[in-house]
Protein backbone atom coordinates (compact mmCIF):
# COMPACT_ATOMS: atom_id res chain seq x y z
CA UNK A 1 0.00 0.00 0.00
CA UNK A 2 1.40 3.41 -0.90
CA UNK A 3 1.42 6.31 1.51
CA UNK A 4 -1.65 7.95 0.04
CA UNK A 5 -3.57 4.69 0.27
CA UNK A 6 -2.46 4.29 3.86
CA UNK A 7 -3.85 7.65 4.91
CA UNK A 8 -7.01 7.01 2.97
CA UNK A 9 -7.70 3.75 4.79
CA UNK A 10 -7.00 5.48 8.12
CA UNK A 11 -9.63 8.03 7.27
CA UNK A 12 -12.11 5.42 6.12
CA UNK A 13 -12.09 4.26 9.67
CA UNK A 14 -13.19 7.41 11.48
CA UNK A 15 -16.74 7.47 10.08
CA UNK A 16 -17.26 3.75 10.55
CA UNK A 17 -15.89 3.89 14.10
CA UNK A 18 -18.35 6.73 14.72
CA UNK A 19 -21.19 4.63 13.37
CA UNK A 20 -20.33 1.61 15.51
CA UNK A 21 -20.03 3.68 18.68
CA UNK A 22 -23.33 5.35 17.96
CA UNK A 23 -25.15 2.10 17.35
CA UNK A 24 -24.04 0.73 20.71
CA UNK A 25 -24.76 3.94 22.61
CA UNK A 26 -28.14 4.56 21.04
CA UNK A 27 -29.24 0.98 21.65
CA UNK A 28 -28.31 1.29 25.30
CA UNK A 29 -30.05 4.62 25.76
CA UNK A 30 -33.18 3.35 24.04
CA UNK A 31 -33.34 0.34 26.32
CA UNK A 32 -33.44 2.64 29.34
CA UNK A 33 -36.23 4.78 27.97
CA UNK A 34 -39.77 4.34 29.13
CA UNK A 35 -38.60 2.61 32.27
CA UNK A 36 -38.83 4.06 35.77
CA UNK A 37 -36.72 7.17 36.40
CA UNK A 38 -34.46 5.41 38.89
CA UNK A 39 -33.25 2.91 36.29
CA UNK A 40 -30.04 4.68 35.21
CA UNK A 41 -29.01 5.21 38.86
CA UNK A 42 -29.79 1.59 39.70
CA UNK A 43 -27.74 0.45 36.74
CA UNK A 44 -24.82 2.63 37.77
CA UNK A 45 -24.86 1.39 41.37
CA UNK A 46 -25.09 -2.24 40.31
CA UNK A 47 -22.10 -1.68 38.10
CA UNK A 48 -20.12 -0.26 41.02
CA UNK A 49 -21.02 -3.22 43.23
CA UNK A 50 -20.00 -5.71 40.56
CA UNK A 51 -16.73 -3.86 40.05
CA UNK A 52 -15.83 -4.50 43.67
CA UNK A 53 -15.44 -8.14 42.72
CA UNK A 54 -14.71 -8.31 38.99
CA UNK A 55 -13.41 -5.90 36.42
CA UNK A 56 -16.15 -5.34 33.90
CA UNK A 57 -16.89 -2.91 31.07
CA UNK A 58 -19.24 0.02 31.22
CA UNK A 59 -21.89 -1.98 29.32
CA UNK A 60 -21.59 -5.12 31.46
CA UNK A 61 -24.93 -4.37 33.10
CA UNK A 62 -27.86 -4.29 30.71
CA UNK A 63 -31.37 -3.59 31.88
CA UNK A 64 -34.60 -3.83 30.06
CA UNK A 65 -38.15 -3.15 31.16
CA UNK A 66 -40.98 -5.10 29.57
CA UNK A 67 -44.66 -4.82 30.13
CA UNK A 68 -47.01 -7.79 30.15
CA UNK A 69 -50.52 -6.79 31.07
CA UNK A 70 -50.37 -5.11 34.47
CA UNK A 71 -47.00 -6.62 35.15
CA UNK A 72 -43.67 -4.87 34.68
CA UNK A 73 -40.73 -7.17 34.19
CA UNK A 74 -37.23 -5.91 34.83
CA UNK A 75 -34.74 -7.97 32.92
CA UNK A 76 -31.19 -7.74 34.15
CA UNK A 77 -28.21 -9.03 32.23
CA UNK A 78 -24.71 -9.04 33.60
CA UNK A 79 -21.86 -10.02 31.34
CA UNK A 80 -18.75 -11.24 33.10
CA UNK A 81 -15.38 -11.22 31.35
CA UNK A 82 -14.23 -14.55 29.93
CA UNK A 83 -11.01 -14.85 31.92
CA UNK A 84 -11.59 -13.54 35.37
CA UNK A 85 -9.27 -14.46 38.18
Amino acid sequence: MNLLGYFRSQRKKSASVAKERLQILVARERAQRGGPDYLPALQEELLQVIRKYVEVDQDAVQMHVDREGDCEILELNITLPEHHQ
Partner: protein, 269 residues
Protein backbone atom coordinates in the same frame (compact mmCIF):
# COMPACT_ATOMS: atom_id res chain seq x y z
CA UNK B 1 -56.75 24.35 12.66
CA UNK B 2 -53.09 24.78 11.91
CA UNK B 3 -50.59 22.02 11.70
CA UNK B 4 -47.94 22.68 14.33
CA UNK B 5 -44.38 21.79 13.41
CA UNK B 6 -41.44 21.86 15.81
CA UNK B 7 -37.91 22.23 14.48
CA UNK B 8 -35.73 20.59 17.08
CA UNK B 9 -32.37 18.87 17.59
CA UNK B 10 -31.13 18.68 21.16
CA UNK B 11 -27.65 19.78 20.13
CA UNK B 12 -27.03 23.48 19.57
CA UNK B 13 -25.90 25.19 16.41
CA UNK B 14 -26.94 22.46 13.98
CA UNK B 15 -29.25 24.65 11.85
CA UNK B 16 -32.67 24.79 13.56
CA UNK B 17 -33.19 28.52 13.10
CA UNK B 18 -31.91 28.40 9.51
CA UNK B 19 -34.35 25.55 8.87
CA UNK B 20 -37.30 27.20 10.64
CA UNK B 21 -36.87 30.34 8.53
CA UNK B 22 -36.52 28.36 5.30
CA UNK B 23 -39.43 26.04 6.02
CA UNK B 24 -41.81 28.83 7.05
CA UNK B 25 -40.87 30.91 4.01
CA UNK B 26 -41.22 27.91 1.71
CA UNK B 27 -44.66 27.01 3.05
CA UNK B 28 -45.90 30.59 2.79
CA UNK B 29 -44.58 30.81 -0.75
CA UNK B 30 -46.77 27.82 -1.61
CA UNK B 31 -49.79 29.81 -0.45
CA UNK B 32 -50.10 28.51 3.13
CA UNK B 33 -50.59 31.09 5.86
CA UNK B 34 -47.63 30.47 8.13
CA UNK B 35 -46.36 31.80 11.44
CA UNK B 36 -42.85 31.06 12.68
CA UNK B 37 -42.34 31.35 16.43
CA UNK B 38 -39.01 31.76 18.22
CA UNK B 39 -38.97 29.72 21.45
CA UNK B 40 -35.36 30.61 22.24
CA UNK B 41 -36.13 32.91 25.17
CA UNK B 42 -33.17 35.07 26.09
CA UNK B 43 -31.28 34.59 22.85
CA UNK B 44 -33.62 35.60 20.01
CA UNK B 45 -32.09 34.83 16.61
CA UNK B 46 -34.94 34.07 14.29
CA UNK B 47 -35.76 37.75 13.73
CA UNK B 48 -32.19 38.28 12.50
CA UNK B 49 -32.27 35.32 10.14
CA UNK B 50 -35.66 36.51 8.84
CA UNK B 51 -34.35 40.07 8.54
CA UNK B 52 -37.08 41.70 10.64
CA UNK B 53 -35.07 42.52 13.80
CA UNK B 54 -35.73 46.24 13.52
CA UNK B 55 -39.46 45.72 13.44
CA UNK B 56 -39.78 43.80 16.70
CA UNK B 57 -42.00 45.81 19.05
CA UNK B 58 -43.67 43.09 21.08
CA UNK B 59 -42.55 39.51 21.59
CA UNK B 60 -43.87 36.09 22.62
CA UNK B 61 -43.63 36.83 26.36
CA UNK B 62 -45.44 40.17 25.96
CA UNK B 63 -48.35 38.26 24.43
CA UNK B 64 -48.30 35.67 27.21
CA UNK B 65 -48.31 38.40 29.85
CA UNK B 66 -51.09 40.32 28.13
CA UNK B 67 -48.91 43.38 27.41
CA UNK B 68 -49.81 43.05 23.74
CA UNK B 69 -52.27 41.16 21.58
CA UNK B 70 -51.03 38.41 19.30
CA UNK B 71 -51.80 40.51 16.25
CA UNK B 72 -49.76 43.40 17.62
CA UNK B 73 -46.80 41.13 18.12
CA UNK B 74 -46.89 39.23 14.81
CA UNK B 75 -44.49 40.77 12.30
CA UNK B 76 -45.63 40.53 8.70
CA UNK B 77 -42.91 39.51 6.25
CA UNK B 78 -42.45 42.08 3.49
CA UNK B 79 -41.29 39.60 0.86
CA UNK B 80 -43.71 36.70 1.10
CA UNK B 81 -47.46 37.02 1.49
CA UNK B 82 -49.01 35.19 4.42
CA UNK B 83 -45.75 34.84 6.39
CA UNK B 84 -45.50 36.13 9.97
CA UNK B 85 -42.84 36.07 12.68
CA UNK B 86 -43.32 35.98 16.45
CA UNK B 87 -40.05 37.00 18.08
CA UNK B 88 -38.62 35.55 21.29
CA UNK B 89 -38.31 37.69 24.33
CA UNK B 90 -34.87 38.76 25.51
CA UNK B 91 -35.80 38.39 29.14
CA UNK B 92 -33.41 36.37 31.28
CA UNK B 93 -36.32 34.82 33.12
CA UNK B 94 -36.28 31.18 32.02
CA UNK B 95 -39.78 30.62 33.36
CA UNK B 96 -41.31 33.36 31.24
CA UNK B 97 -42.85 30.75 28.95
CA UNK B 98 -45.57 29.35 31.16
CA UNK B 99 -47.35 26.19 30.16
CA UNK B 100 -50.74 27.92 30.16
CA UNK B 101 -49.44 30.99 28.39
CA UNK B 102 -47.84 29.00 25.60
CA UNK B 103 -50.97 26.93 25.27
CA UNK B 104 -53.14 30.03 24.85
CA UNK B 105 -50.87 31.57 22.22
CA UNK B 106 -50.58 28.30 20.31
CA UNK B 107 -54.35 27.90 20.27
CA UNK B 108 -54.84 31.41 18.98
CA UNK B 109 -52.15 30.95 16.31
CA UNK B 110 -53.66 27.70 15.25
CA UNK B 111 -57.01 29.40 14.56
CA UNK B 112 -55.41 31.95 12.22
CA UNK B 113 -52.81 29.96 10.34
CA UNK B 114 -52.34 26.83 8.24
CA UNK B 115 -48.89 26.14 9.68
CA UNK B 116 -47.23 27.18 12.93
CA UNK B 117 -43.48 26.53 12.91
CA UNK B 118 -41.79 26.41 16.33
CA UNK B 119 -38.07 27.15 16.35
CA UNK B 120 -36.80 25.26 19.40
CA UNK B 121 -33.83 26.33 21.51
CA UNK B 122 -30.97 23.87 21.94
CA UNK B 123 -30.98 21.42 24.83
CA UNK B 124 -33.80 19.44 26.37
CA UNK B 125 -34.78 21.95 29.04
CA UNK B 126 -37.97 23.89 29.51
CA UNK B 127 -37.90 26.00 26.33
CA UNK B 128 -37.20 22.98 24.15
CA UNK B 129 -39.90 20.92 25.87
CA UNK B 130 -42.40 23.77 25.41
CA UNK B 131 -41.60 23.98 21.71
CA UNK B 132 -42.05 20.22 21.30
CA UNK B 133 -45.17 19.85 23.40
CA UNK B 134 -47.77 21.06 20.90
CA UNK B 135 -46.22 19.52 17.81
CA UNK B 136 -48.10 17.49 15.23
CA UNK B 137 -44.90 17.08 13.21
CA UNK B 138 -41.27 17.30 14.26
CA UNK B 139 -38.36 18.11 12.03
CA UNK B 140 -35.30 16.71 13.71
CA UNK B 141 -32.33 18.68 12.43
CA UNK B 142 -29.18 16.58 12.60
CA UNK B 143 -25.57 17.07 11.55
CA UNK B 144 -23.63 13.98 10.41
CA UNK B 145 -21.62 13.85 13.59
CA UNK B 146 -21.78 11.63 16.70
CA UNK B 147 -23.05 14.04 19.35
CA UNK B 148 -25.72 15.48 17.08
CA UNK B 149 -27.04 12.02 16.14
CA UNK B 150 -27.10 10.94 19.74
CA UNK B 151 -28.98 14.08 20.81
CA UNK B 152 -31.45 13.62 17.98
CA UNK B 153 -32.20 10.15 19.23
CA UNK B 154 -32.84 11.49 22.72
CA UNK B 155 -35.17 14.12 21.31
CA UNK B 156 -37.08 11.38 19.49
CA UNK B 157 -37.50 9.64 22.84
CA UNK B 158 -38.90 12.82 24.37
CA UNK B 159 -41.33 13.37 21.49
CA UNK B 160 -42.59 9.84 21.97
CA UNK B 161 -43.19 10.27 25.70
CA UNK B 162 -43.60 13.92 26.70
CA UNK B 163 -45.46 15.59 23.82
CA UNK B 164 -49.13 16.44 24.11
CA UNK B 165 -49.93 13.74 21.58
CA UNK B 166 -48.09 11.17 23.70
CA UNK B 167 -49.72 12.34 26.94
CA UNK B 168 -53.20 12.26 25.47
CA UNK B 169 -52.68 8.94 23.73
CA UNK B 170 -53.28 10.45 20.27
CA UNK B 171 -51.53 9.38 17.12
CA UNK B 172 -47.80 9.96 17.68
CA UNK B 173 -45.94 13.05 16.43
CA UNK B 174 -44.81 12.52 12.85
CA UNK B 175 -41.01 12.59 12.83
CA UNK B 176 -38.88 13.76 9.92
CA UNK B 177 -35.10 13.73 9.67
CA UNK B 178 -33.37 16.70 8.08
CA UNK B 179 -29.67 16.12 7.68
CA UNK B 180 -27.85 19.45 7.44
CA UNK B 181 -24.30 20.70 6.89
CA UNK B 182 -23.68 17.61 4.81
CA UNK B 183 -20.40 17.38 2.94
CA UNK B 184 -20.32 14.62 0.28
CA UNK B 185 -16.56 15.07 -0.15
CA UNK B 186 -15.92 14.29 3.50
CA UNK B 187 -18.36 11.40 3.47
CA UNK B 188 -16.50 9.94 0.49
CA UNK B 189 -13.23 10.19 2.35
CA UNK B 190 -14.77 8.34 5.28
CA UNK B 191 -14.42 11.34 7.58
CA UNK B 192 -18.11 11.98 8.00
CA UNK B 193 -21.10 9.77 8.74
CA UNK B 194 -23.04 9.18 5.56
CA UNK B 195 -26.69 9.80 5.01
CA UNK B 196 -27.24 6.05 5.03
CA UNK B 197 -25.38 5.70 8.37
CA UNK B 198 -27.50 8.35 10.07
CA UNK B 199 -30.68 7.03 8.48
CA UNK B 200 -29.93 3.54 9.72
CA UNK B 201 -29.30 4.66 13.30
CA UNK B 202 -32.23 7.05 13.70
CA UNK B 203 -34.61 5.07 11.48
CA UNK B 204 -37.11 7.84 10.74
CA UNK B 205 -38.41 9.26 7.49
CA UNK B 206 -35.82 11.40 5.65
CA UNK B 207 -37.15 14.82 4.68
CA UNK B 208 -34.00 16.07 3.03
CA UNK B 209 -30.27 16.67 3.03
CA UNK B 210 -28.94 20.23 3.13
CA UNK B 211 -25.33 20.60 2.03
CA UNK B 212 -22.73 22.56 3.97
CA UNK B 213 -22.89 25.82 2.07
CA UNK B 214 -21.48 29.31 2.12
CA UNK B 215 -24.88 30.47 0.88
CA UNK B 216 -26.36 29.88 4.36
CA UNK B 217 -23.95 32.31 5.97
CA UNK B 218 -24.38 34.85 3.19
CA UNK B 219 -28.15 34.67 3.52
CA UNK B 220 -28.14 35.05 7.28
CA UNK B 221 -25.71 37.97 6.98
CA UNK B 222 -28.25 39.65 4.74
CA UNK B 223 -31.31 38.63 6.77
CA UNK B 224 -32.79 36.63 3.90
CA UNK B 225 -34.11 33.09 4.48
CA UNK B 226 -31.76 30.94 2.36
CA UNK B 227 -34.67 29.31 0.51
CA UNK B 228 -35.19 32.64 -1.26
CA UNK B 229 -31.68 32.34 -2.72
CA UNK B 230 -33.01 30.12 -5.44
CA UNK B 231 -29.68 29.83 -7.27
CA UNK B 232 -27.90 28.40 -4.25
CA UNK B 233 -27.46 24.70 -3.45
CA UNK B 234 -28.77 25.07 0.11
CA UNK B 235 -31.73 27.14 -1.11
CA UNK B 236 -32.67 24.46 -3.62
CA UNK B 237 -32.19 21.68 -1.09
CA UNK B 238 -34.55 23.47 1.31
CA UNK B 239 -37.04 23.97 -1.51
CA UNK B 240 -36.98 20.20 -2.14
CA UNK B 241 -37.47 19.51 1.57
CA UNK B 242 -40.51 21.80 1.74
CA UNK B 243 -41.99 20.13 -1.36
CA UNK B 244 -41.50 16.70 0.24
CA UNK B 245 -43.06 17.95 3.45
CA UNK B 246 -46.12 18.87 1.38
CA UNK B 247 -46.22 15.37 -0.05
CA UNK B 248 -44.35 15.74 -3.31
CA UNK B 249 -41.78 13.13 -4.36
CA UNK B 250 -38.41 14.62 -5.24
CA UNK B 251 -35.05 12.90 -5.68
CA UNK B 252 -32.19 13.87 -3.37
CA UNK B 253 -29.68 16.38 -4.71
CA UNK B 254 -26.27 17.58 -3.52
CA UNK B 255 -25.50 14.28 -1.82
CA UNK B 256 -22.82 13.10 -4.22
CA UNK B 257 -19.41 14.52 -5.00
CA UNK B 258 -19.53 16.42 -8.29
CA UNK B 259 -17.74 14.56 -11.06
CA UNK B 260 -14.13 15.50 -11.25
CA UNK B 261 -12.66 17.30 -14.23
CA UNK B 262 -9.51 16.16 -16.02
CA UNK B 263 -7.10 17.41 -13.37
CA UNK B 264 -9.18 16.02 -10.57
CA UNK B 265 -9.08 12.60 -12.19
CA UNK B 266 -5.38 12.86 -12.81
CA UNK B 267 -4.52 13.65 -9.19
CA UNK B 268 -7.41 12.01 -7.41
CA UNK B 269 -7.99 8.35 -6.72
Amino acid sequence: MAKTVVVTSGKGGVGKTTTSAALATGLARQGHRTAVVDFDVGLRNLDLVMGCERRVVYDFVNVINGDATLNQALIRDKRVEGLYVLAASQTRDKDALTQDGVERVMTELSEQFDYVICDSPAGIERGALMAMYHADDAIVVTNPEVSSVRDSDRVLGILASKSRRAEQGDEPVREHLLLTRYSPERVNKGEMLSLEDVGEILAIDLLGVIPESQAVLNASNAGVPVILESESDAGQAYDDAVARFLGEQRPLRFTDVPRKGFFGRLFGS
